[in-house]
């Protein structure tokens, strides 16, 4: 085994060259087609990049699973994180009439929407499953305004690569790529199971991203920002999650 033949050496050399060349090409392609997640650095970067890139290629325009009305969970779990801040309490007391969603960034017409403004746009209802990264899940009907309708309303720039979104607590912020942002099932949700979206489940406004785990569906959304450079936000990792040790992409 120790005597390395010339043939073996040449074969190994060629294979190594092809391997490195392949990696360089793959890296170029991945960057070009937006297949690199913002948290691609560090020891878990390679795995995260592989997961995101392969899932994006495989699931490109696939819809999230939908369920018949009979499968809507009778016992959904809110996992309550009701905001305790004064601002929220005040808005809640007013029946969320003064709730506003600010949309800015790479858009022609930065706009502030009330819930009534959102409801005046095209509406959609989807029966999808919320799956938490902890392992539990439930199915519910989510009623809202497709995010793409809101983005079209404000004249989103074709240069946009991510939509960043913020919760009212001033801590939680997230982002999704355009694959999810323009996805027909991604809803700015204000209704659930034929009623208003309860506060426990993220009411009055939650961004439902059904192709990813629950933590991407941020509750109490007050602001969206369109950007072409995700590195400018927070620590440049795409959302608050990687800063706390959780993956930015949660499609798995």
């Amino acid at each position: 085994m120790s005597g390395i033949s010339r043939r073996k050496l040449i074969t190994t050399g060629l294979a190594a060259t092809a391997g490195v060349g392949g990696l360089v090409v793959a890296d170029r392609m991945a960057r070009r087609y937006g297949l690199i997640p913002p948290d691609d650095k560090g020891v878990y970067g390679p795995g995260e990049t592989l997961t995101y890139a392969v899932q994006r290629v495989l699931t490109m325009h696939a819809p999230a699973r939908q369920f018949p009305r009979s499968m809507i969970s009778k016992e959904p779990f809110a996992n309550e994180t009701v905001p305790t801040g004064k601002a929220f309490k005040h808005l809640q007391a007013g029946g969320f009439k003064d709730w506003r969603l600010v949309v800015d960034g790479l858009v022609e017409r930065p706009t502030t929407f009330s819930l009534a403004d959102l409801k005046a746009l095209p509406q959609k209802s989807e029966i999808t499953e919320v799956a938490c990264e902890e392992g539990w899940s439930y199915v519910a009907e989510w009623i809202g305004t497709p995010l793409h309708a809101v983005l079209r309303e404000v004249g989103i720039s074709p240069k946009t690569r991510y939509i960043v979104y913020y919760a009212i607590d001033g801590v939680i912020w997230e982002s999704i790529d355009m694959g999810d942002a323009l996805h027909p099932q991604t809803l700015l949700t204000w209704g659930m199971n034929d009623g208003d979206l309860p506060v426990g489940f993220g009411g009055p406004l939650r961004l439902r991203v059904p192709r990813q785990l629950g933590y991407k569906s941020v509750k109490y959304v007050i602001k969206l920002t369109a950007t072409d450079d995700i590195k400018k936000f927070g620590k440049g990792l795409g959302s608050i999650d990687p800063e706390g040790g959780y993956a930015w992409y949660a499609g798995i």
């Binding site: 005597g3 899932q55 016992e75 959904p76 990264e133 902890e134 899940s137 959780y246 798995i252």
Partner: protein, 260 residues
């Protein structure tokens, strides 16, 4: 005793007496699989404790009745376990590590699978031997191996040089049944993957069933690991370990040349 030089050039006295055992691909993929499995097991347990309840069907959460609950504290206060103690949260790095290790496992499996098909490794070394491919032949051979394991019956002349039928069965099950099922049940929990391939989860009976199977199959692999290491220890831990590292069996003491 030979009248002509052997085909393999002998450059040291050691190599004349040692016999080849495991190929380089088998050894490399064996250890890579161990690394990936250890990482998957540890991170998997870390993820599990955030919700140590298991369900059947599509949905399940703290408001629904579990199929079973692990008797351990959880790492989330939303899961009432009755222990009045909250475990630290391993879910963040646990999930990062779990998927990275899963990729290592899948890529290793692709190399091993392609190589195994190409070289006939599965056919030659893992499928039961020719006389054991009928039910009758199979059970007879398996019976003999089991008798020997229990200390009765004649010694196996091929031990340490080729796998017996019990080993072949165990390896085939782990490689072609349990590991693929692990990957399948894992993917069946991915909201993006199941969107593109809904059958992957529907065939299993729902997301929560997939999760429960994923958890139970883990213990099938742990059981295999325990039996595997026990058998290696009984057969001679260091010599077997050595041959899985160097690829060669130590020199046979008296039956040199039997390998021919």
């Amino acid at each position: 005793m030979l009248c002509y030089s052997p085909a393999v050039p002998a450059t040291s006295t050691e190599r004349k007496t040692e016999t080849p055992r495991h190929s380089a691909v088998v050894r490399a993929t064996h250890w890579l699989t161990l690394i990936a499995f250890a990482a998957l097991l540890i991170s998997g347990l870390g993820i599990t404790i955030s919700h140590p309840r298991f369900y059947l069907g599509e949905v399940g959460n703290v408001n629904t009745k579990p199929l079973f609950t692990l008797p351990i504290p959880a790492s989330r206060d939303t899961v009432k376990t009755g222990y009045h103690y909250e475990m630290p949260d391993f879910n963040g790095w646990g999930r990062y590590l779990h998927f990275e290790a899963a990729w290592l496992l899948v890529l290793t499996a692709l190399v091993y699978g392609a190589w195994g098909l190409w070289t006939g490794h599965f056919r030659k070394n893992l499928l039961p031997e020719r006389g054991e491919r009928s039910w009758r032949g199979y059970w007879k051979a398996l019976g003999l191996v089991m008798k020997r394991y229990l200390g009765r019956g004649p010694a196996d002349s091929g031990e340490g040089r080729r796998y017996n039928v019990a080993q072949r069965t165990a390896y085939l099950l782990v490689i072609f049944v349990v590991f693929p099922l692990m990957i399948w049940t894992g993917l069946a929990m991915s909201p993006a993957f199941t969107g593109a391939f809904p059958e992957s989860v529907i065939l299993l009976g729902g997301r929560q069933t997939a999760r429960t199977l994923h958890f139970l199959l883990t213990w099938a692999l742990v059981l295999f690991l325990v039996v595997h290491v026990t058998m290696v220890a009984l057969a001679g831990f260091w010599s077997r370990l050595r041959s899985m590292i160097t690829g060669r069996n130590p020199a046979p003491e008296s039956d040199a040349g039997e390998d021919a």
